[in-house]
Symmetry: C2
Subunit: 195 residues, 2 copies
């Protein structure tokens, strides 16, 4: 995704300790056309890696929602987002898994209603960042609880130095990213193509 890589080069800034500010296009302001193209790119990349028969795209609120929506649109299937706070409208006894909030700190419990994920589903998980991989692993845990089949995992931006890919590759499904940040420090941010 050259358009995405170009935007990251222009707009990302390093806040220290490897934290990259990308809120002009991922987690505060969004470019809807670019987000639509991200969804198409995820479908293309996942299918090229052998994924087929997807029935659900799963993500976590908040920043995964936009790209998961456009990915689900590309696949022509429903999208489900895990909640970090359980709304009073959620059905009883959801699937749950613990995760650590990256930018807010603290533990959160992800919840997905049994109404929207079941054993006949074939699932792709999409999130904004592929960083430590721990939030994505929590989503994988929810997919396992539901009895659904995990087909693939995608992150818009992979932070290579956080090492999440090593945690996800043992799952044996394609793990794709649309752009990579190789390093982020005082000398700048090094961006490369997705993997």
């Amino acid at each position: 995704m050259n358009a995405l890589i170009e935007r990251i080069r222009l707009e990302a800034s390093h806040l220290g300790r490897g934290i990259v500010k990308l809120d002009s296009l991922i987690n505060h302001q969004l470019d809807p056309q670019l987000t639509l193209e991200m969804g198409r790119a995820f479908k293309e990349r996942l299918e090229a890696a052998g994924v087929s028969g997807v029935t659900r795209v799963l993500t976590v609120e908040v920043s995964g929602i936009a790209a998961a929506l456009t990915t689900a649109l590309a696949f022509g299937v429903p999208m489900v987002y895990a909640r970090k706070t359980r709304p009073i409208t959620m059905s009883a006894d959801p699937y749950t898994a613990g995760a650590v909030s990256r930018t807010k700190g603290g533990e959160v419990v992800l919840s997905v209603s049994r109404d929207f994920l079941g054993s006949s589903d074939k699932v792709v998980i999409i999130d904004d960042f592929l960083a430590s991989g721990r939030t994505l692993l929590a989503m994988v845990d929810i997919v396992r609880q539901s009895g659904a089949t995990l087909l693939g995992v995608g992150g818009i931006v992979e932070k290579i130095y956080d090492g999440g890919r090593a945690l996800l590759e043992p799952l044996g499904v394609p793990v794709v990213s649309l752009a990579c940040i190789e390093s982020a420090d005082e000398s700048g941010i090094v961006v490369s193509g997705g993997r």
Copy 2:
């Protein structure tokens, strides 16, 4: 939006005290194609009411994001979502306004970075529910702080019995909804067309 009205009739349930569960298509699972059509419908309805020159679509995390994204896609402009927890990646000194969380309870402070909303902007605010109108008014307050011009307000589902429209109409801009819930009680849910 007949497709939306039909889905609400089939899928909404009343949880008591006027609270309507619609998590199969608005705040937990989403139908991407229907969400795309909501965006087109918001544009069409707002333009029919005289709105033109939109430069930004504004919403609040979480459940407003999907429809605001597709509305921004229809208008061909960026979308910005107010944060309820300020991430460490947000620039200092954002615009802020207090709001009450409808389904989670408690006060929240909405924050929008000054980087993404300014005095030259012409803004449409989109949210999932037009209920009491208080969250939408908090967003209007943020638009005012930025010096931007408010052009219109849209809610996917208007809960007539919560009376939010009366709070918003004095703003003097079009207020549109794509479907209305006239009443929700033990006897059932009465759905009608948007306003």
